[in-house]
Amino acid sequence: MLEDLKFFAMAQRTMQWLNGRQVAIAQNIANANTPKYQPKDLAPLDFKNLLDPPAPPVRAVATNPMHISPVVDSARFETVTEHRPEESKLDGNAVLLEEQTKKLGDVKDLHTLASTLMQANMSLFRTAIGNGQG
């Protein structure tokens, strides 16, 4: 219901993107000492993408309860592998812990922002609805 409102849809999509980005960052940090590992990141979330997300992939419709219904997959975002040979260490690993930590902080801040905005809007709704006493 709430997703029908553009604001909530955007906040939700931002949070999904942040979750996905957090996974990418976690992989980079975990592999900070793995030889030949190249860091990855999600493609930036632009306004157009935020406003109307690309259509979900086409899949068969389950018309009968016996059909195996597909697992609901979360929103997909494009993953980019960064190639920066000039930043690589001797073992071919190109993860910079400082950079990843900075991204981690960004993700955290944006997530707090998105969830606080969502909460604030929710409280507006509550005010509008009132506490049921007219």
Binding site: M15, Q16, A26, A30, N31, S74
Partner: protein, 136 residues
Amino acid sequence: MDDLNKTIEIAVSGMKAQAERLRVVSENLANADSLPTAPDQQPYRRKILTFRNVLNESIGADEVKVAKINTDRSPFNKIYQPNHPAADASGYVLSPNVNSLVELMDMREAERSYQANMDVVSTSRTMLTNTINLLK
């Protein structure tokens, strides 16, 4: 929510790998003076571990694993100590190829990487809490 739990799993795999690295470092440091007892024996040989990224199918992301614990094939050091039971004809004893400076460096790096993984866990937990707080 699911993504954030994945994140924690990935970071934990990194922490495990770094802990194992620290274990190898401590093994090397503890045995830095393990000399042989007879002239034909060899002293302790330094161990090295390498990491590799493994795709965890259930979460669809790259985790870290310790690939292999190898031995350092660099030559042993020699110390002149003619009265040692393991001394050869010219009075030299082979000593482990462990350099404590290198080991300390490795230890510091492991500590930093562990800390970074820990930060990922705490950030993910904050994000999870934020999401749960939306229910209030």
